[in-house]
């Protein structure tokens, strides 16, 4: 679950402060959260956010690109200290990791060709639908079993790039995926795709920590709240998304 009171033997925050740096694991092919810019350096919303949090904690960030399949092993082997890469909070992941409070809301949208008549989930009956393997889009679709069963075919792609390529070639009819990423990709190929009005639900991004690193997670939550309060969070969000979509806890 989300951060609770630190337990006695949890020295994670002290360790990070002593090291003066935390290692941030990310999928560096996830624009605009984290990706290589024209300069070859990794940039993105997550990077700016993490740098701001680190600055406020008085430590530095070290970026470590990882293979997404290996993220749990990377963090448990202590190759990295956090998974900070548009990580969707799911019950399975909550069982394995400690999460920060959510910092971004995201939708699982249906992308179709500009000319397509698909607009509702029910329109997907008998159609070929693609997702990115292991994505939260896949999880969201698989939760709605009735709709999943109505699909003509359900395909899992290596990357959204190939899924969209299939969509463009007409070998599939729709792609379900993260609104944030998909919208970014649509800007690269304007006039080809559109987003249907129906979607597969909302979800939240959080930062993942090792299960035991509760004090560290609590410190990040504290900084998030401070940034919401002083407007820094809104500033970073506006830089990448043109508006303030930073997630604010209800209370």
């Amino acid at each position: 679950g989300t951060a609770k009171e630190p337990v006695a033997e949890d020295t994670s925050l002290a360790d990070i402060q002593a090291k003066g740096v935390f290692i941030l694991g990310l999928d560096d092919a996830f624009p605009p959260m984290g990706f290589r810019g024209e300069s070859g350096e990794i940039e993105g919303f997550d990077i700016d956010l993490a740098n701001e949090v680190a600055k406020r904690m008085g430590v530095k960030v070290q970026l470590q690109p990882i293979d997404w399949t290996a993220k749990e092993m990377e963090i448990n082997n202590k190759n990295i200290d956090v998974i900070w890469s548009g990580l969707t909070i799911t019950p399975e992941r909550e069982a394995a990791l400690t999460f920060s409070q959510p910092y971004l809301g995201n939708k699982q949208v249906i992308v179709v060709l500009e000319a397509s008549t698909i607009d509702e989930k029910s329109d997907l009956a008998g159609k070929k639908v693609g997702v990115q393997l292991d994505s939260s889009g896949q999880a969201a679709v698989e939760k709605e079993t009735a709709i999943l069963d109505s699909f003509g075919e359900f395909l899992k792609f290596d990357t959204y790039t190939t899924a969209l390529l299939d969509l463009k070639n007409g070998t599939i009819d729709a792609v379900v995926g993260d609104e944030i990423l998909i919208k970014y990709m649509m800007t690269k190929d304007p006039g080809t795709f559109k987003v249907a009005s129906d979607n597969f639900g909302d979800e939240l991004y959080g930062v993942g920590f090792r299960k035991a690193d509760i004090s560290f997670a609590a410190e990040v939550n504290k900084q998030f709240n401070a940034m919401i309060a002083d407007g820094k969070a809104a500033e970073i969000s506006t830089k990448w998304f043109g508006e303030d979509i930073f997630y604010k806890p209800a209370n």
């Binding site: 997404w68 399949t69 290996a70 993220k71 749990e72 092993m73 399975e92 992941r93 069982a95 394995a96 693609g130 393997l133 292991d134 999880a139 395909l155 899992k156 792609f157 290596d158 190939t162 899924a163 390529l165 299939d166 070639n169 007409g170 070998t171």
Partner: protein, 211 residues
């Protein structure tokens, strides 16, 4: 646990399908192209040289990608996913088999060709009845290597979203956050490759009746 194993094993279907289809086409084609490289005219040889270089020289993953996404765009046709996978694997493995059989045929003594010719046999007859059967025996070890590699290469079809052993495993690894699941995949691969190793050592023994 049981359902996980079944889910992964479902991917073995793809693996085996691609394995057999590839071999059924790539081996005869490889033999044919090997003969072309040895006995063909300058143009045929040149084309085959470029073919084996391009196909061995670029990653199979890119070739699968190209066949499925590139060809339809270039030719304006629509390709079936499985068909694209078959085509890519066949043209890739044919290139490797061509080189292997070429070495095998070249290793057959000139005397075998001369004796066949002196008996009035035509070049195709000589190849089919005398040279190829002997060449096959000699190239068994490298062909065995290719069979083993093919079993594992089939997982590359995941780039065009065809599920196989490896992809299904990866899915479970991230869904369950359980990297140990890879061990199941490893065991399945070991069983499949053990079958191949066993088959080849049997064949090697069976063919040792001569020489």
């Amino acid at each position: 646990m049981e359902s996980i194993i079944f889910y992964i094993l479902a991917g073995a279907n793809t693996t085996l399908r691609i394995f057999f289809v590839t071999l059924i086409f790539a081996i005869p084609l490889g033999i044919l192209f090997a003969i072309g490289k040895i006995a063909g005219g300058k143009i045929i040889k040149g084309i085959l040289d470029i073919y084996t270089w391009l196909l061995r020289g670029t990653p199979l993953m890119l070739q699968i990608f190209f066949v499925f996404y590139g060809i339809p765009q270039l030719l304006g046709i629509k390709l079936d996913r499985d068909l694209a996978a078959y085509i890519a694997f066949i043209i890739n493995y044919t290139a490797y088999f061509t080189e292997i059989f070429r070495a095998g045929i070249l290793s057959i003594e000139k005397g075998q060709f001369e004796a066949s010719k002196a008996l009035g046999m035509s070049y195709p007859q000589t190849m089919r009845r005398i040279v190829i059967p002997q060449a096959i025996k000699r190239v068994l070890p490298p062909v065995g290597n290719e069979f083993i590699t093919l079993i594992k290469d089939t997982s590359l079809v995941m780039v065009i979203a065809i599920p196989d052993i490896m992809r299904n495993t990866k899915e479970i690894v991230s869904r369950e956050a359980s990297p140990e699941t890879f061990i199941i995949a490893a065991v399945i691969y070991l069983i499949l490759t053990y079958g191949i190793v066993f088959l080849f050592s049997k064949t090697e023994k069976r063919l040792s009746y001569y020489d």
